[in-house]
Symmetry: C2
Subunit: 575 residues, 2 copies
């Protein structure tokens, strides 16, 4: 591509509503423009990267045996009514009527359409397993579209759906898709984690999210520093390395802790490490007779409660709800800030202690008396009746639940999600095939999504500096930029540029020749803003010595390259 | 691809609502399935061909210097209100409201969005010309979707838009696009014609349609048998090789022609060739004072009137309208079936004679008296006052208007359309750039569409037989089929198939290995229905002699091929 025939549309500043880096840089680099709230046009520089991502996704899906199809974007309401999602989906589903007043939606996902196809086309177990994918524009009417293409209303997804005669077959394809997704992100060159996840609103039982790690991510991912383990912080099991409390060495003492409303304030007041304190929270529950009751949750002072885990406690009210202050005073006789485990059992409160709190000794806790705490508390001696459970969020440094290494927590951007849908859709839509015995069997289903447009933004969030984007080579809009100095006037520069341009193109390299009548500073800035991995500057000065100036966008390192070996130099860099 | 992992979905019969061949064959070959009226899912076999067409279109657009972009499918009403098309477009525009009750449409075309982009991004003539394209799903809410993907509601278009500082620059890009379109259809291998066309409702002045010739086409195309000339029948100039009438040899005679209501009936009754007769039609007009008047149109008996040409006659009522029977009787004194040119001028009727009728001699015409016609009529002697104009449709055998060869008429399917939009959109949306003198200039625009999904159907309409589709190699879902006989039981067949399959794939050939447990007849039928150009049958009998059976889908010719040279044999076929 010649820059003189190209549309750069680079900007010095991003609009004020662009608050995340990728949104700012995609606007500034001339990759996208907003047409309407949450609707974007992809400009030439944007579409070049987009198409490279799309091609990698397509190739890896094909290699994994998935067959490409293309379903309509506009879908008839009838199919959504069969699964009940026409009612359930809420206002994110863009509903519309055609000229004959029939109901349709602009599809945010395609479970209904593909299940309809499957029940019509598939009749025998011999046709299974079958895995089909499409790469398509979806619409989700977000109430507050934001972050550019990261959370836009229109976006491009690769969505795949697989059909099976058994759960075992589904698991096999699920594993193949898991590997295909790893291959996609490996090929692109992103730092990512496949993460155990809740399956969310799509239904089904077993799922993994694929997260690109980036400080700006919306999700906290806990992963091992020495193994493949990774999970959403909310779902990761909190392990305690210590299995038993040390023996008591201190006597129990009640101390005055005036105006200490939080455990941090108590620890500071008493000059105790917060790890030697526990906090106690009371939540609503129902007892075995179905009567309202109260459960006490005890955690180490520095740990945070995990509501998802608490909701799994038998008897806990779902959704999670704290006991009222009035209930607490009635039951325990103090304000919430002074509750502690000692004596609760006797007051008729069930006590559940987190694993890490249960191994403390000589610790501090509320005395169930306003403005008083205990110090030198020890479970076995002072407060022996309680249950132990995992009710906290993991923190960095926790042992990894798989027994290998320690937990690290980073923020992630979800770019892929694979689900075992099970039989949810095939049951409601009666998608069956005949098995070996000629008996109708409801098919098992998996579904597998990748946000193609979102990957572009996520890759930027992971790879940028103050001058712009630093693309992985696999998806850079151009692999190489030739920056011509004084192209208009110097025949030597022109000849050198044209030869190099032709030679690089012949090697199949995606190269842009910046032949514009612009100052070198403008060209360099555009080159860095666009994140082109390799830059060769062609100027009279260098040519006099037979050299070009090379610079790597990633390392920022430069070197003089022999003009005659420039092509092989670049080929080596790209290898 | 292995057939055992593939979704064939071939059918013996097409549904009854599939009336055109391409629709029937696309259903039967498992290329598409209807989801809802005018909405289709493309199955694996369909998408394979579709993607090959899409890639050819993309590559040729890129070669022609067009930059790929991607605009949103859902478009805000505001832009359409600026050009007035929100009101004008009619019910084919699928309008909808988002969750905030704002108006949008699902875009059938993108002039507004791209012009909005251009006015924001383009500021200087130096950025021009600029040509951008996208390949995208469009929606047109057809009142009666039909013919499968040929006239569906959702369809995929390549739409390109160019911006210019002058009409001359627009013409240059227009010519480049014209050539790019020829390259697309040449590469696919279709018999097509670029045809001069009216620009229709998109506005602007100059346009060409690209038609794939096929008997089932909806348009009549007139083209020269010896040159590039081609035009819609309605627009082609009708030339008369003869420039002057021969001298009269017969006396004028009035003859009784009872119950002859048509010129064909008159000719038959009088035993005259219809080419020696004229028919006369009266149409509504306004005279120079603006008063209602009548014009007589005189054509040779075998020719058909062309309303578009007639509407260009000064004074003719637009849209074209015949005079009422009452007017005719009042003005001429006879029923419409007996009108003739002689005496009309005297009755105050303006007479316009088609070029081919004006060179007749000794001809037959109505006598302006019920049930009577003249024979032996001659213009100069009997009826000298008239104007000559081109008011008829061309017919086969007419001289080509460019002076080269004769007119041939065939039916065509419109698959592409290029327009010079001029300044229509840029004026209404105020899309200007600064010219060399720093003065704001309204940009000139061109737009260029190709129906990607429609090409697939049109290619079938041009290439099929009673066994199925006969794809051009460039867009066949597979280039080669290896049909295994007794794959399950014969190790020799299995080995030969696997080796051949691997070797062909290594050469980059798109090959399907039919390893299914099916009868040979089923495999052969699927192969022919799908239109795979080259077939190699691998069976024990042939292998005993070291041969495979080759068959060409196009010619139907077969031959034995040496097993060891099968790959080079296929490479030669594909060359």
């Amino acid at each position: 591509m010649r820059a003189s025939n190209y549309l750069f549309s680079t900007l010095r500043d991003a609009p004020s509503d662009a608050v995340v880096t990728s949104h700012q840089l995609m606007i500034r680099a001339g990759m996208i423009r907003q047409v309407s709230k949450g609707l974007y046009t992809w400009l030439p520089t944007g579409i070049k990267t987009f198409k490279k991502v799309e091609n990698i996704v397509r190739e890896e899906m094909q290699k994994a045996g998935s067959l490409e199809v293309m379903m309509p974007g506009v879908q008839p309401a009838e199919l959504w009514q069969e699964t009940g999602r026409w009612q359930k989906y809420g206002p994110e589903l863009l509903r519309l009527k055609d000229r004959h007043d029939r109901d349709y939606c602009v599809g945010p996902t395609h479970e209904e359409v593909i299940t309809d196809l499957a029940r019509n086309e598939l009749t025998s177990y011999k046709q299974l397993p079958l895995n089909m994918f499409q790469i398509q524009t979806k619409f989700r009417d977000e109430v507050r579209p934001r972050f550019g293409v990261m959370r836009s209303r229109e976006f491009v997804m690769k969505d795949a759906y697989s059909f099976h005669i058994s759960q075992e077959s589904l698991q096999e394809t699920y594993d193949v898709m898991h590997q295909a997704y790893c291959n996609v992100f490996d090929r692109i060159g992103l730092d990512y984690r496949p993460v155990q996840a809740d399956s969310g609103s799509i239904g089904g039982a077993y799922s993994h999210e694929f997260h690109v790690l980036a400080d700006s991510g919306e999700d906290d991912i806990a992963f091992s520093d020495s193994s493949d383990f990774a999970a959403n912080v909310e779902l990761a099991e909190a392990i305690c390395a210590k299995t038993e409390a040390d023996a008591a060495t201190q006597a129990l003492e009640e101390v005055f802790t005036p105006n200490c409303k939080t455990i941090a304030a108590v620890a500071e007041f008493l000059k105790l490490p917060v790890e030697k304190t526990v906090k106690t929270m009371l939540i609503k529950a129902t007892d075995e007779e179905g009567e309202p009751s109260i459960i006490a949750l005890v955690l180490r002072g520095d740990h945070a409660i995990n509501e998802i885990k608490v909701e799994k406690i038998k008897g806990a009210v779902v959704p999670f709800e704290f006991a009222t202050e009035a209930d607490i005073i009635a039951k325990v006789g103090c304000q919430p800030g002074s509750i502690g485990p000692k004596g609760l059992k006797e007051a008729g409160v069930r006590v559940i202690v987190d694993r890490s709190a249960a191994v403390l000794s000589d610790f501090c806790a509320g005395a169930n008396k306003d403005d008083y705490h205990f110090i030198g508390l020890n479970w076995a001696r002072d407060c022996a009746e309680f249950e132990i459970a995992d009710i906290r969020n993991v923190v960095e440094g926790d042992p990894s639940p798989d027994g290998q290494g320690k937990i690290v927590i980073k923020r992630g951007i979800e770019v892929g999600h694979i689900f075992q849908l099970g039989q949810t859709y095939s049951e409601s839509m009666k998608a069956t095939v005949l098995d070996e015995n000629g008996k109708a069997q409801t098919m098992w289903m998996g579904c597998y999504g990748i946000g193609v447009s979102r990957i572009v933004a996520a890759a930027i969030e992971q790879n940028f500096d103050d001058r712009g984007i630093i693309w992985p080579e696999s998806i850079a809009p151009f692999q190489v930029a030739i920056v011509a100095m004084n192209y208009e006037k110097s025949e030597a520069v022109r000849d050198a540029c044209e030869t190099l341009y032709k030679d690089l193109q012949e090697k199949g390299i995606d190269v842009i020749l910046d032949d514009r009548k612009e100052r070198p500073g403008v060209k360099f800035a555009d080159c860095e803003l666009l994140g082109i991995p390799h830059r060769l500057v062609v100027g009279d000065k260098g040519l006099a010595n037979g050299t070009l100036e090379y610079k790597s966008r990633k390392t920022g390192e430069g070197e003089d390259v022999n003009q005659s070996s420039a092509v092989s130099f670049i080929l080596e860099k790209l290898a």
